[in-house]
């Protein structure tokens, strides 16, 4: 292939120096600006409002999960990360239907938030947890207890997993 080069540089370009000073100018200007790099993990990012971390389940006031196992989130989930087994609640007058099992494969979840939008019971919400790295795939499958639980604690566990 024949490349057409622009051989005719102007005098200013031929001198180089203006370009070098321009670049140094930018460097100098930024030396006095506020730092934007965080020393993660010692320093943490302030999450914006509405940030979508991984989904979690919400506990109701009566200490039963709000979820009624309607399976709408399972149906809407584009990455098929959710799987639910429906169960009947022991005390039928209090609650008829609960999830007997509720699993989210966080490895598959793409944090789109569709489950939260589909849920008629506001039982599933996007948490602000984003640290889900682990060394074993099984650890990525969150069961009901874990999805209802205290994510902070689990996130620490996860960082230690495999040690």
């Amino acid at each position: 292939m024949k490349v057409k080069r622009n051989d005719k540089l102007s005098l200013r370009e031929k001198l180089y120096l203006p370009a070098i000073f321009q670049g140094l100018g930018i460097t100098f200007r930024n030396m006095f600006r506020k730092d934007v790099v965080l020393s993660y993990p010692e320093e943490r990012w302030e999450l914006p409002e509405g940030y979508r971390g991984i989904p979690r389940l919400v506990m109701g006031d009566d200490n039963i999960e709000k979820c009624v196992a309607c399976k709408l989130c399972e149906s809407v989930c584009p990455s098929k990360a959710i799987s639910i087994v429906i169960g009947e609640f022991r005390d039928q007058d209090m609650r008829e239907r609960v999830p007997a099992e509720f699993q989210i494969d966080i490895g598959r979840c793409i944090n789109c938030g569709y489950c939260m939008e589909a849920c008629p019971k506001e039982a599933i919400v996007m948490s602000d947890l984003y640290e889900v790295a682990t060394v074993r795939r099984e650890d990525m499958i969150f069961d009901k207890e874990r999805l209802l639980g205290d994510y902070e604690r689990y996130s620490v566990d996860m960082r230690c997993a495999g040690k």
Binding site: V68, A69, C70, K71, L72, S75, I86, G87, E88, Q92, E96, R97, P120, K121
Partner: protein
């Protein structure tokens, strides 16, 4: 039918006179929304969702009670009609709990669909909703949630008009009105599952399907029920490889809109198959289907000459054809069809010759008298009994003649006259007068009577001797007995020769396929005894557990509802069995390589 001209939504159309407008709209592809109307139950006019405008009538009129007539001008999409629908739906939802997330109907609910399509989209109701009982068990099969009920009375009318036992009623008035049982009773009978099918909301749901799955997860396959030889049209609903439920499919010739509970819930699929087993040094060992088939082929190859095949009524027509070929290939002199007795076949041939068979139950209304000889169809073919009951309420005189009329469930067959004489003596006594007393007679004969030789084809002469038309139904036992009989043709053989040969030890190997012992063998115990003495059995049946243990090779057999093929039902109609498309196939026709002369190795993977 008289054809008339009328306009519908401004378009001139030609249609039959006297048809409900809802049916017309369905045919035109823009169904008028409705709740209380059900084609199997007729109009009621209580929900008011179907209101339409008709020229020259000042007010809106319900399309379910109004029938087509010449020159009628119907407008089903005017502003006025749309506003009326919105209003009706808003009213219906005033006390409806909207608990769709936990309701089994959610996803296939007419109330959901109609509200989305025609509803106002919001409610102006500020007061609290009425509370009522929820999840109340009202019958062995059915659970009732009174809050969800929209009082369409379909359930009440089904029990009253179709089953005839009036077990449900509406109690109280106004916003306190509730569907309820009469005090202290429960839903009984063999048809309660239909209530879950017809209830347009989640008020009556099936306990069997409760919280099992959401409808959109299921794959619906149109097939037939696999229990008795009526083979009613049914939808099978699969959750993966599991059959989640059965629902009735409309079919006017056979089951109308209904199924019996025995068919709906007593799925034969549930009785497990033993899987693939091969006997090695006296012990039965589970093996892969390829190894098992190879062993079966080996046995049959070695034993040619003293091998026989016996197939039963749980085989499809296609399997029967192929096994007939195998029987010929093995040079077996015996009939391979268990239970295809000679007399019933002769009877059918006579019916066929004169075209006497009734094979469309929609024509039941054309008879004025039905005589049933033999067992109570309520026990053997419940849906036929249901349809006879419906016809009886419309003037068909039904007489049941059998020495043991089944227990008469309250109200169900009260219109029937029952005689506990034996059919033989009844025919000689009052039978002939009963027969001549009617213009259009329907004779229903239990195959058992013909098989056991108590009656024979000459009963047709009794009917021929009288004046007026008559039709006959032969009630067969065994799922595909009619298919077996058709395959057997006019062969003079009742399996007695085979039984004798077995008892005398002249058969070395016997291949049993799709046999249902209780119905296919005349003397079940004698057969089991003869079979278990036999040298080596190859068994491919779901039934016959007692023989599985004695067998040399046991091959897995699919449940009837997972079979694909055709069968002939008791009315002589060819019915199609459709299995779920991607069902894992565990049984197959392993003998095919023998017939096509290929090697056994190639046979493997030959899907059945």
């Amino acid at each position: 039918m008289e054809l008339i001209k009328m306009t519908y939504n401004g378009v001139e159309i030609e249609t039959e006179a006297g048809k409900p407008l809802i049916d017309l709209s369905r045919e035109l592809g823009e169904e008028i929304p409705h709740f209380c109307y059900h084609p199997g139950l007729g109009p009621e006019g209580s929900c008011r969702l179907c209101l339409v405008e008709v020229a020259k009538i000042p007010k809106l009129v319900p399309a379910c009670t109004l029938t087509t007539s010449a020159g009628m001008e119907v407008i089903a999409n005017s502003e006025k009609v749309i506003k009326a629908r919105k209003g009706v739906l808003e009213f219906l939802l005033i006390n409806h709990p909207l608990d769709c997330p936990i309701c089994d109907k959610g996803g296939e609910c007419p109330l959901q669909d109609n509200t989305r399509l025609h509803g106002p989209g919001h409610s102006r109701m500020e007061d609290d909703k009425n509370l009522n009982f929820k999840h109340r068990i009202i019958g062995e099969r059915i659970i009732h949630d009174a809050e969800r009920c929209i009082l369409c009375t379909r359930c009440v009318r089904f029990q009253r008009d179709v089953v005839g036992n009036c077990e449900l009623t509406i109690k109280n008035r106004g916003d306190k009105a509730t569907v309820d049982l009469f005090s202290g009773s429960r839903l009984t009978g063999n048809f309660t599952g239909n209530l879950a099918d017809i209830c347009p909301v989640g008020a009556l749901t099936s306990r069997d399907f409760r919280f099992k799955a959401r409808p959109w997860e299921l794959e619906q396959v149109e097939s037939v029920c696999g229990v008795c030889s009526m083979a009613c049209s049914a939808s099978t609903w699969w959750l993966g490889d599991q059959l989640a439920r059965l629902t009735a499919s409309p079919d006017s010739a056979v089951n109308s809109w209904w199924l019996c509970d025995r068919g709906r819930y007593g799925r034969p699929s549930e009785n497990g198959s033993a899987g693939n087993l091969v006997r090695l040094q006296g012990e039965q060992v589970p093996m892969s289907r390829e190894e098992t088939a190879a062993r079966a082929l080996e046995i049959i190859r070695q034993g040619a000459g003293s091998c026989a095949v016996l197939c039963g009524s749980r085989s499809t027509n296609e399997e029967l054809a192929s096994l007939t070929e195998l029987n010929g290939f093995l040079d077996s002199p015996f009939s391979p069809f268990a239970g295809a007795s000679t007399e019933p076949r002769r009877f059918l041939a006579a019916l066929d010759e004169e075209k006497l068979e009734l094979n469309d139950l929609a024509r039941l209304g054309g008879f004025d008298r039905a005589i049933i000889l033999g067992r109570d169809p309520l026990e053997t073919h419940p849906v036929l009994a249901l349809r006879l009951g419906e016809a009886a309420a419309n003037g068909l005189a039904v007489t049941l003649v059998g020495e043991q009329p089944g227990p008469d469930p309250e109200g169900f067959t009260q219109e029937w006259s029952r005689s506990s004489e034996t059919p033989e003596s009844w025919l000689q006594g009052q039978g002939s007068s009963a027969m001549t007393g009617s213009d259009r007679l329907l004779l229903i004969v239990d195959e058992m009577l013909l098989r056991s030789g108590r009656l024979d084809t000459s009963i047709l002469d009794l009917c021929r001797g009288r004046e007026g038309e008559f039709s006959v139904v032969l009630l067969t036992d065994g799922f595909n007995r009619r298919g077996l009989m058709a395959a057997a043709g006019d062969r003079e053989d009742d399996n007695d020769a085979l039984l004798k040969a077995l008892e005398e030890g002249r058969i070395d190997h016997l291949f049993l396929f799709g046999v249902e012992a209780q119905v296919d063998f005349k003397d079940h115990e004698q057969w089991v005894r003869a079979l278990s003495q036999n040298g080596s059995l190859i068994v491919q049946c779901r039934d016959m557990k007692e023989l599985h243990r004695a067998a040399e090779v046991v091959l897995a057999r699919r449940p009837t509802l997972a079979l694909a093929g055709s069968m002939i039902n008791t009315l002589g109609l060819t019915r199609r069995l459709t299995a779920r498309s991607a069902l894992r196939c565990e049984d197959y026709q392993w003998w095919l390589p023998l017939l096509s002369g290929e090697s056994a190795g190639k046979a493997v993977g030959n899907e059945g």
